[in-house]
């Protein structure tokens, strides 16, 4: 480990470029001759589309064309796909309604795209979009997760007779129920995992250009990796050969899961560019971001736990309602199962488990992956249960956890849904967090706060994730003529700092100068054939692992070439810090790369070039885990909560760059703080979106945060060669349960044991008022 190798807190090499305005976001792309697009969006949450009149809009000067769903249908454009295949217990299949890019007969949520208007300027396009007249027959709508299963709830898809997508179950309900009944202690919690708007800083933007001569469509857009989108656009939607569709993302201003999806707007802009033979650009605004970017979370959970006399868990029952929105998005419906289900029930040994998930349609925009993608929801449920169990068993919150942790001796440990935990020191991680947060002296700080009229509380959450899903990824290492080494990645860095970390790895493995390593990603024209992109905290394992494997191939080949040129047996060639050595002879890796271009300098059977591309594959993912301890103060008169202390201990395996991991932890915690304290997407009963701007939707601010002391308890993963575990989503996973735990601890004098997120001042104040007057809040 040199100055730039594994584990060094190297400063991010992308930052100077990004912070000095040299980034290239999609909105920075303008193509000669481009027209502009604007969308006509539904103002109804549920309505029949009786007709559309575009004549007034088309007459406006500067309007180029208008396409609605009917035009796309006539042109043979396909539908947006969903690959989930869950079954009800009776074997019947889930409901899978098709999603047209723009609906032709019925609109099902406010903000749904109904038509695309192309004009000579963005302003004209918007003006014309307002002049397009849809004839609607409005129908009653349902937006509420809690009420979607009511008998009289309007049906989003009347043909199914229910809003329930499927009733998926795991485990034996009657056996679990019997154990809960027989248990010494039984606790239950009812929770709301509030709906949040992922809110990347960059709104969506699409620039599409089509060259008829070679039938080539190029689409620029912020993504988390283009290959999947390319496949969908080519195969399912526009029905073009794969190699005739190219997706480019230079820089992307925040992904969070919500930028990895194929959206109707992308299809419509690409279709328009192709149809018109003219570049088309669309720049979404913030209101459109709120209305049409997929939302996150939105679950209602009922959970029950049975414990024996010693406070050991005997059984767990968990029933989840998930609001999927009006359609099935790509991954939304899977989040409780493949998302959270991987690691449920968290870091605890639970002998018997029943799990029921009912995804529900409502007249709202779809929900889908958002930082953590099911794991924050799952950990929130388990951690709220553990706090309730601590109360009921009269044990401290740390003791009830300690008694139930899966131990290192129990590993490898199979989770209920078939995943295997290979490593993790949950008790050690929790103890580190408790110590750093001075858990044992908290009473003094509470007393001091009381003197100032504040209620102080301390909260704890221990969590586990699954990271690196779909562990297959192409990675290429290429030696350039000028001595640079390029990493051509199937992953896509949309803020994480891969250019830095991958350079560290190339430096570590191949001894190449850190500054000479360049990252190339985000363009389907040159990315490896297998390219999944970046999501689910996977790039350290699959990208890093890929570089490691490619480096090994490079060294092996380099030894043959160096041996040949140094007249030594390849077996006798050593490689260290970028230098091949045989006896007294040495060659740098750069010299070997240079020589490898000349077939005359190569031994028999060795192909020219030192470049290698590998498809990294692993059978399993990895399991990052950690513990957060939070201290809060509550003003009992106003209900205002302030975080005053924060410790996050992470086991993300081997740390490749602590500086970057800390950044991930801070950002994740900020988003977790947002979910816990301020963020809440609200629709009214008619399905109108009430929170469509930052005037109403509370993004967390700096003052909502406290300094986060981020520490590591490194337990290398046993299942990948770098020993890494994902680090991107832990913050958002640990924060919500730790903060709610801290609040409830602060409210102990009032006997308040739970308040649903977000913990707004009024909710807290009302709970206190109700406790004072002895009434329910």
């Amino acid at each position: 480990m040199g100055q730039f190798g594994i584990g060094q807190p190297v400063r991010r090499k992308e930052d100077v470029r990004l912070l000095t305005g040299q980034g290239q976001y999609t909105d920075d792309i303008n193509i000669e001759g481009q027209a502009w697009a604007a969308f006509v969006r539904s103002s109804h949450a549920n309505a029949k589309i009786l007709g559309v009149d575009t004549s007034a809009a088309l007459e406006l000067p500067g309007v180029v064309a208008i396409f609605s769903g009917k035009d796309l249908e006539a042109a043979g454009v396909g539908v947006l796909i969903n690959e989930a295949a869950y079954k009800n217990r009776d074997g019947s299949s889930m409901h899978k309604p098709p999603r047209q890019v723009m609906p032709t007969a019925q609109t099902r949520f406010v903000g749904e795209v109904l038509a695309i208007v192309i004009a000579e300027s963005a302003e004209l396009a918007r003006e014309a979009a307002e002049a397009v007249e849809f004839d609607f027959e409005s129908q009653p709508a349902i937006a509420s997760t809690a009420r979607a299963l009511d008998a009289d709830a309007p049906k989003v898809w009347p043909e199914f007779g229910t809003n329930q997508v499927v009733h998926w179950e795991y485990g034996d309900e009657s056996s679990v129920e019997a154990k809960l009944k027989a248990a010494h202690t039984r606790v239950k919690v009812d929770l709301v995992n509030n709906r949040v708007a992922p809110s990347p800083m960059e709104p969506r933007c699409v620039v599409a250009t089509y060259k008829a001569a070679d039938n080539m469509l190029t689409v620029y857009s912020p993504t988390q990796g283009g290959r999947r989108l390319q496949t969908m656009l080519a195969k399912n939607l526009l029905k073009m050969p794969m190699d005739k569709v190219r997706i480019i993302s230079h820089d992307t201003g925040g992904g969070f899961g919500v930028r990895s999806k194929m959206y109707p707007e992308t299809v419509a802009v690409a279709f328009a560019a192709k149809q018109l033979g003219r570049p088309v650009k669309w720049r979404g605004d913030r209101v459109e971001t709120f209305m049409s970017d997929y939302h996150g979370r939105d679950q209602i959970n009922h959970a029950e736990m049975g414990l024996d006399a010693e406070g050991r868990i005997v059984a767990l029952k968990l029933e989840t309602l998930l609001n999927v929105g009006a359609y099935l998005s790509e991954n939304g419906v899977r989040l409780p199962m493949e998302g959270g289900g991987r690691i449920i029930p968290g870091v605890y040994h639970v002998p018997d488990f029943y799990f029921s998930v009912r995804p529900l349609f409502t007249n709202t925009v779809c929900t889908d992956t958002y930082r953590g993608a099911g794991r924050p929801e799952a950990n929130y449920i388990t951690e709220r249960l553990m706090d309730a169990a601590a109360d009921a068993c009269k044990l401290s919150r740390e003791e009830i956890r300690r008694r139930n942790f899966v131990t290192q001796e129990q590993m490898p440990y199979a989770t209920h849904l078939g995943f295997v935990l290979d490593s993790g020191d949950f008790a050690g991680t929790m103890d580190m967090a408790l110590k750093a947060a001075h858990w044992d002296t908290f009473a003094e700080r509470r007393k001091e706060a009381e003197a100032r009229g504040k209620l102080r509380g301390i909260g704890l959450a221990v969590f586990i994730e699954g990271a690196g899903s779909r562990p297959v990824e192409g990675m290429r290492v290429r030696f350039e003529e000028n001595g640079d080494v390029s990493v051509i990645a199937g992953t896509y860095s949309h803020g994480q700092g891969h250019a830095t970390v991958y350079s560290q790895l190339v430096n570590e493995f191949l001894g190449v100068d850190y500054d000479r390593v360049k990252l190339i990603n985000g363009d389907t024209a040159n990315s490896p054939a297998m390219s999944n992109g970046s999501f689910g905290s996977r790039s350290s394992m699959v990208g890093g692992g890929g570089i490691n494997r490619a480096s090994k191939l490079i060294i092996a080949k380099g030894k043959k070439i160096a041996g040949h040129l140094l007249q030594a047996d390849p077996e006798a060639v050593a490689f260290e810090a970028g230098v091949f050595k045989a006896g007294a002879g040495t060659m740098t890796i750069g010299e070997v790369a240079q020589a490898s271009r000349d077939p005359k300098k190569l031994p028999d059977g060795v192909t020219p070039g030192l470049d290698e591309e590998v498809t990294y594959e692993n059978d399993v993912e990895n399991f990052p885990n950690g513990a957060h301890v939070v201290e809060v103060e509550v003003d009992p008169e106003t209900g205002v909560l302030q975080i005053v202390g924060y410790v996050a201990v992470d086991d993300c395996g081997t740390v490749l760059n602590p500086f970057i991991v800390h950044g991930q932890v801070y950002g994740g915690v900020a988003q977790g703080v947002g979910q816990a304290l301020t963020e809440d997407v609200l629709y009214d009963d008619d399905g109108q979106l009430l929170t469509a701007s930052y005037m109403d939707y509370g993004m967390p601010r700096a003052k909502n945060m406290a300094h986060v002391e981020a520490l590591f308890n490194v337990v290398p993963a046993k299942t990948n060669e770098l020993g890494v575990k994902g680090a991107g989503e832990a913050g958002a996973t640990g924060a919500p349960p730790a903060i709610v735990s801290a609040l409830c601890d602060a409210l102990t004098p009032y006997g308040i044991r739970h308040i649903d997120m977000p913990l707004t001042p009024e909710k807290i104040w009302r709970a206190i008022q109700a406790a004072r007057t002895g009434k329910a809040a």
Binding site: L677, T678, Y694, G698, R701, N704, P761, E762, W765
Partner: protein
């Protein structure tokens, strides 16, 4: 944003004439309220008449027993003004707590008061300090100025030229910031001048108002306890997705008591 004609006025009179001569003209000061509404296409004026070129509308001075702040003075200048900090520190605090640095360097006192946004800070200051609004043609007592939601006593072609704040013996302002917008969910300005007490409130109602029962009680006994038992009626107060009228009414009382406590220290 739709197209409009732009005029840079050089004096108050020519601004008013340009306004009268336009089809559907609008005055623009800092533009921090007006421009977002244009961008969202909620307003589409035919003409924008910019007061930014009128030097006589800028500045802060002591005149007699008043602090006079000209209409085009930006929030940042009021917040940083030595004159204001010395004469009415609470007003500097109020101005310095508006929005963010960008907003404070564009937004003006005239624009804020003319707009009568229910959640804006200055209207609370006007009521709590008993300010007078000076226009191109008359003076209007602050108490008579704010008529309702985004509604003031100004004529359609009337311009605010300055605001006169009488210097109190003491004043204190506390703002409960909205977690999303940063505007006032509730803002309370309490001032004392001679034996007189004023309690001005913004954020809670359709426009800024005074709480006379608090004032009367505090004039008899200037202590938090004196108003602890006086409930503010929630009827008619604002409700949004985050805060109910009942909560706002409660917070008016809490902030008023805290202002009083701060002034007793």
């Amino acid at each position: 944003m739709r197209d409009f004609d732009y005029h840079l006025a050089t004096d108050v009179q020519s601004a008013i004439e340009a306004l009268r001569n336009s089809e559907e003209g609008k005055i623009v000061a800092g533009g921090m309220t007006l421009l977002p509404t244009l961008k969202q296409r909620l307003a589409a004026p035919s003409d924008l008449i910019d007061l930014g070129g009128i030097d006589t509308l800028r500045g802060i001075a002591i005149e007699g027993k008043d602090v006079v702040i000209r209409a085009m003075t930006i929030h940042a200048d009021v917040g940083a003004s030595d004159v204001v900090k010395k004469a009415i520190p609470a007003l500097a605090v109020l101005a310095g707590g508006i929005g963010d640095p960008a907003v404070r360097h564009r937004g003006t006192i005239g624009g804020s008061i003319a707009n009568s946004d229910p959640a804006a800070d200055y209207p609370g200051g006007v009521m709590g300090l008993g300010a007078t609004i000076v226009t191109d043609r008359r003076t209007i007592a602050g108490d008579d100025f704010f008529l309702g939601l985004f509604e003031t006593a100004l004529e359609p072609d009337e311009l605010i030229t300055s605001v006169r704040f009488p210097i109190p013996d003491q004043a204190h302002y506390i703002k409960f910031k909205h977690p999303a917008s940063g505007y006032a969910v509730v803002g309370v300005m309490v001032s004392r001048t001679g034996g007189k007490v004023r309690v001005g409130v913004t954020g809670a109602g359709p426009c800024a108002f005074r709480v006379t029962p608090f004032e009367t009680a505090l004039e008899k006994n200037f202590s938090p306890d004196a108003i602890a038992a006086i409930a503010v009626d929630a009827d008619g107060l604002n409700t949004d997705v985050n805060f109910s009228a009942e909560y706002r009414a409660h917070i008016v009382g809490v902030l008023a008591r805290r202002c009083v406590a701060a002034l007793m220290d």
